[in-house]
Symmetry: C2
Subunit: 339 residues, 2 copies
DNA sequence: ATTTTCCTTGCAATCGATTGCGCAAACTAT
DNA sequence: ATAGTTTGCGCAATCGATTGCAAGGAAAAT
């Protein structure tokens, strides 16, 4: 039993009195090697406990069968489900996944992207940070023809595949729903306009208002970082207006949650005095009281699809596949907070 | 502007009319190279847009500065926060993290572990699957002296570092709390005994009962896979007993949640008729109604600590550091469901 | 029987870095 | 001035695979 030096194809080769090239090919099921030798080699490999050194193979073949993933935060449910989807599909294709989080900081995102590049990942799946207002780091990939795929939050200046949800329509549907249930003064706590998703949701909100001839009132639009603190402050400002809103479309579920807390502290009845709608369908949204209306984004599916698309592109790198923007539908989930 | 062939240290070398070794050393800030040449080389590298090929470096140096992580599911909050902690610390030390999920399946776990080995990760952080009843795949690491660190769920037959929470005491505290609030018939929905965590929690539960001279009644102990379905069935069985429990210690928060739903459907008052306690402090637990008593496990901290310990061990591989079991305290959080 | 083709396999270069060893120049000590 | 150190750098081997090219033998074709 050898435990010290690793077993390489050369060891197998000498043991079997054949060349290393044959061993290599046999292990890769290359048809140029006879069925018989292949069996013998693979058998021996098993027997000797051979473990391929992926590093060496990758160096030579200039492929790593690895895709890099960058998300703002791993521990946010939407992103962790997306990652789960990515991992699940990638695994079926024998791809590894390296994950890093930007913590919504541009500098860290740049660093992550560069590290992934240096590690020669075959493709990059990324949802950009809230601060990302430049694309130099991403060009590192696109300029070198390494596939990038954005999901949810994308960088508009980079040509690439994207998988997003229909944020515009979601914002529209949310707002229409609020109007239909009788709300007349509908406010919106939006996220940073830098991000497509927030811009689109807000645009949908405005479109819906206009469709009913309701004037857009800037005082009803709060732009916020959507953290707990900022969200609460924004909501407090809204509710302190002379004519406080009777319906609020919150940028995400956590903001809606703090809004709910605010209402409970200030004895505001939800949805009677003010209806609330969030975004993302966090696990808690269905089970809080009152349960929270929201929009479901198919996180797992987006990740799964993202992995599917990028791996397909990686494996067909010779053929030119036009870039595609896939827009997945969302599902408006009406619960107690807006019923 | 060269976009085709990558820039290597050799390009830098010829450009600067020095040897590749010097370039390599200069880029690594080796003191054997004069401060001056180092500056010149690094400057040139920047200028030419040099990107180190980590693969080549890793192959030669037999280190990858990468740690592999295997968890049952990425999208479970406890695990995603742990991963977040791992990633955060690893990043400060220039380590990459490859993440894979076993989906609580032994076969997939084995495959993940082998893949990570083949990729020559410098260390493995793992929380084993619910099915893991063998350790051959893990010996691949321990036999080759590659550090393994278990967190939360560990494999008792492998000597290694572990980071766990005090499950025994948590189970004990939970049960004592239920007794102190007046419960006399306390049931427990436990997870598979294969896992240390569930065994320890159950042991704590039994110890607490015995400390008060309450006989342990097997009918009050349900062993379950803790899925939504199994959890609900287990809880239903408990509540259908001739003497249904007046307090239930659920194996995790999701089980407690389905128990809660069951109670609502059957008009059972929580906590008056039956008090409920979960485990893990999922994000929803604080915000549901009634809010759920539970035990907080410091996921992020465990991950952070895990990364810290394993990287320390990797970087001091010559010195023999005794294996350590770190037991982190948990925090019993008493909320409405058991007040 | 001879030529052509096919099927297997081996040779040797290569991927892009790291690193032990050695050598010269510069510097210090005697 | 000479011997002994130190400093700075280059040579060449190496890590463990992949792969283009070629070669040898067997089978097929003529």
């Amino acid at each position: 039993m050898r435990t010290h030096s690793e077993i390489t194809i050369h060891h197998l080769a000498t043991e079997l009195k054949i060349s290393a090239s044959t061993v290599s090919r046999a292990l890769n099921d290359n048809k140029r090697i006879s069925e018989n030798t292949r069996r013998i080699v693979q058998q021996k490999a098993l027997e000797m406990g051979y473990r391929p050194n992926v590093l060496a193979a990758n160096l030579r073949s200039r492929r790593t069968r690895t895709i890099g993933v960058v998300v703002p935060r791993i521990d946010r449910h939407f992103f962790s489900s997306a990652i789960s989807g990515i991992e699940d599909y990638a695994w079926t294709k024998g791809f590894n996944v390296i994950i890093s989080q930007s913590n919504d900081l541009l500098v860290k995102e740049i660093n992550c992207v560069q590290t992934l590049y240096n590690n020669r990942v075959d493709g990059l799946i990324i949802s950009i940070s809230m601060q990302t207002d430049q694309d130099k780091h991403l060009r590192l990939f696109s300029d070198n023809h390494i596939p990038i795929l954005f999901f949810d939050r994308f960088c508009p200046t980079i040509e690439s595949d994207r998988i997003v949800v229909d944020d515009f329509n979601s914002g529209y549907k949310i707002t229409r729903h609020l109007m239909e249930r009788g709300c007349r003064r509908i406010a919106h706590i939006a996220g940073p306009e830098l991000l497509n998703i927030y811009k689109a949701r807000k645009a949908g909100y405005i479109k819906a208002l206009e469709s009913e001839g309701i004037a857009v009132d800037d005082r009803y639009i709060e732009v916020s970082g959507l953290t707990n603190e900022e969200g609460k402050q924004a909501f407090a400002r809204l509710m302190s207006l002379p004519n406080p809103p009777d319906g609020v479309f919150c940028g995400n579920d956590t903001t809606a949650l703090v809004a709910l807390e605010y209402c409970q502290e200030h004895n505001l009845k939800v949805p009677e005095e003010v209806a609330l709608i969030g975004f993302s369908d966090e696990p808690f949204s269905a089970v809080i009281t009152p349960s929270l209306s929201t929009v479901r984004q198919p996180g797992f599916e987006m990740g799964f699809l993202a992995a599917q698309k990028i791996i397909h592109r990686i494996q067909n790198s010779k053929s030119v596949i036009p870039f595609e923007e896939i827009v997945l539908p969302t599902q408006l989930i009406i619960r107690a907070s807006s019923k």
